[in-house]
Symmetry: C2
Subunit: 459 residues, 2 copies
């Protein structure tokens, strides 16, 4: 975190040396004000205006959603390989084996106390039911604690979780572990309230995680509305019976690729600033927000720099991950393969929380690196996106950050991200061309300037 | 509308007489402050706290949605007849013949340029397709004007309307008349963007209206997202082919009932203050918001007055309409049957825009009546719902207002009403117990005080 006050326990000479470095870096970065302005003008007001939105619309309208192992994901990777090549970038593919889970046909209904259809989405990696489905009494709980307290009631039942939404990070535990926690107690299936703060009877999918040694039972998300309905019924003492049918199955791992596009650095081509988003999505909605937008601005940033005839000292590398939704599979493999060059990775960047109105960056790095980045984001004043939050998130760049590489995530305004996330509502309708232009401009300025500084970011 | 300044063209004596009446009515109404407080305390803080919410939850959880002609609507009417009788009210049913439209199985998909499922809801009164469905090229338009300009392109096509949402009152014209406008030009079906400002890929149903002499073609609503998708595809010059299958059919009119509950007036039992909401709904969602909430507070208002041992001079009559969604069928018949007693109707009230946080009343009546109501709403100061908007809305009380009877609609805060309206999202989850208590209190105070004043409201 950037420290505004000098530390008392530092020697005066150290303090003055630090102050000198700060002054130097401020001067060096400030000199990029003009080029930053050029990038912003091109992205927001110039020929590239609306381009990342248009590219995203063409891409998602043509292909649709792109779950790991699907024909659509293969098409998507080919599409991007061609599009970025035509754009004049240096493109290659790096093979990755990805999980291949197939949803199949699925349905659920309340049979008792009255017949009611349930909108569901089976969860990634879930097993299916027998073809004739599972029909069982329901146990509704509001938390893992309640499930534990009422453990003796779970045997042979379908456990329905009606946990309140606290935050995605916290509440997603029910989606991830709900099946195994219920399975331990002898439950026959788990239906989990969708992990979202808002719903129009919208089920949300996502990955779930079986625990080793626990019987695998089918798991699906239901809507907030239906979870609350069954909870009210249970509170009234009504016996609830649900029938669940899921054709879900896991096939052998499939061939896929991380898609890599570069502008080679003129001075240190082996040193890399990495920009990224993921190309795969779930098999519902259009994957426009999660994470078509992140992928497109990571391409767009390179286009902007290329269009302006710029070439930084270090290599700019855009990586469009595969298999992110299956647990960051593509990015983990990329790390395993490239960590041998750890010392050449200058900055890793990820956009995977929406390309809504940007406010700045979430940045993870040493105090010294924070100081440099604090100067860099000042260049974004013309589009008012100068916020630098310490501590970034980012599934796909986590291995690098964990290994000490500075990491930056696009920071967008508090938004309706989780309203649409992993649901049929993830479409172009939630995207805005101007907001995407701002994201692209921010992304390009940060990547270009960091890649062109005399020194790599301090670790 | 209440005039704050005296009119110049009135004689001084008339002005002073009016001033005296105003003073008298203010005094008379102010005397109800204590009873208003009692009603509010009971509804919001006392034994009746959360009761209208609980009643609505029991009702909708037990029965579900209640479209005209359905077994569910029959069950709902029986349920309410019994519940209000057990509550000690004077209840009877008045027979009404209602339209009996049945949705049947329905589906739609884009066949070209790529296969994509479309979430649809067929529109009330629509004809179906042949069992094998209709497959045809698509013409996407953004307005009736554009359809007119491109009239020659419509023949043999499925017309897709991608009209922007302006307001419900204005934009609903596309749902109501879209099929006939397209049918006139030889189109084979109409798919209309759902009439809502917001969507999570949510289709919304509602009534549509065939024009006499125009070929009846199938009509359904699609989502905002899919309408925009097809519009973008069309703008790119892509040929779009859609397959639509609808099993919709209209059966002979069904038997139904308006459900009427009363507290008889002690002095003028023949004079009536009428409170109302509708019991029928569409056949999607749970009809909790539209209009279970309005029905429940109209019952609750009478319960509150009865529980306090109050009995006004005039009769309080709650009418739970049937067939509202089919074009106000139950309320129109009620008017036809009871208009012979027009002079005995003091005030007609309707709640059909949600029972969210109330702000006051929308009131339609003469200047003199506005003055009285302006005093009445002051009694609602303890719950801060004292707003009196001139000009009410209200499908079901319109015939009375049109005949000169004062009419009041519950006025709630700008809300997400149309996000959920006629969709699977109309469930108990959008309702709040405290907000419903406030609505019930407001409803009861207004109805009781108006029914107990010495004079009926001036016409
Ligand atoms: Zn993502
Ligand atoms: Zn209604």
């Amino acid at each position: 975190m950037f420290r505004r006050k000098p530390r008392l326990n530092k020697s005066t000479s150290l303090k003055s040396r630090e102050a000198k470095i700060s002054l130097d870096i401020a001067k060096e970065v400030t000199a990029y004000a003009d080029v930053a302005k050029q990038i912003i003008d091109l992205a927001v007001y110039g020929d590239a205006r609306n381009r990342s939105y248009r590219r995203l619309a063409d891409f998602t309208d043509t292909i649709g959603n792109r779950v790991s192992g699907s024909k659509n994901l293969e098409m998507a990777i080919n599409y991007m390989y061609k599009a970025m090549t035509v754009d004049g970038l240096d493109v290659h593919l790096e093979p990755v084996k990805v999980p291949h889970w197939v949803r199949g046909k699925e349905s659920a209904e309340i049979v008792q106390p009255r017949s009611k259809n349930l909108a569901i989405l089976g969860l990634g990696s879930s097993v299916g039911t027998p073809p004739e489905g599972i029909q069982a009494d329901v146990l509704v709980v509001q938390s893992f604690d309640e499930l534990k307290r009422r453990g003796s009631e779970a045997k042979g039942k379908i456990v329905v979780y009606n946990q309140p939404f606290v935050s995605y990070g916290e509440t997603v535990a029910y989606r991830a572990f709900g099946a195994s926690e219920a399975g331990k107690l002898g439950a026959v299936a788990a239906l989990i309230r969708s992990v979202t703060p808002f719903s129009i009877n919208s089920p949300h999918t996502g990955l779930q995680d079986y625990q080793d040694g626990v019987k695998k039972i089918p798991a699906a998300c239901i809507t907030i509305e239906d979870a609350e309905l069954m909870w009210r019924m249970a509170k009234r003492g009504e016996k609830i019976v649900v029938k669940l049918t899921m054709g879900a199955t896991t096939l052998p791992d499939a061939d896929s690729f991380n898609t890599v596009a570069e502008i080679k650095g003129w001075q240190h081509p082996e040193q890399v600033v990495l920009l990224s988003g993921h190309l795969d999505s779930w098999d519902v909605g259009q994957g426009a927000m999660d994470d078509g937008g992140g992928a497109m601005i990571s391409w767009e940033a390179l286009s902007l720099i290329k269009d302006l005839g710029l070439r930084p000292r270090r290599t700019l590398r855009t990586v469009l991950w595969t298999g992110e939704e299956q647990g960051g599979v593509g990015s983990q493999q990329y790390f395993n393969l490239h960590k041998v060059n750890l010392s050449n990775f200058d900055l890793v960047m990820e956009s995977d929380l929406g390309t809504f109105r940007p406010v700045g960056l979430q940045f993870t790095g040493s105090d010294a690196a924070q100081k440099v980045m604090a100067e860099v984001v000042k260049l974004l004043a013309p589009i008012n996106t100068t916020r630098l939050e310490p501590h970034g998130e980012g599934t796909d760049i986590y291995p690098w950050m964990n290994a000490g590489i500075p990491g930056a995530s696009l920071h967008v305004m508090d938004s309706r991200y989780f309203w649409f996330h992993h649901s049929e509502g993830d479409t172009m309708t939630v995207q805005d061309p101007h907001e995407m232009d701002l994201c692209s401009a921010l992304w390009a300025v940060v990547a270009y300037v960091v890649a062109d500084l005399e020194e790599m970011l301090p670790r």
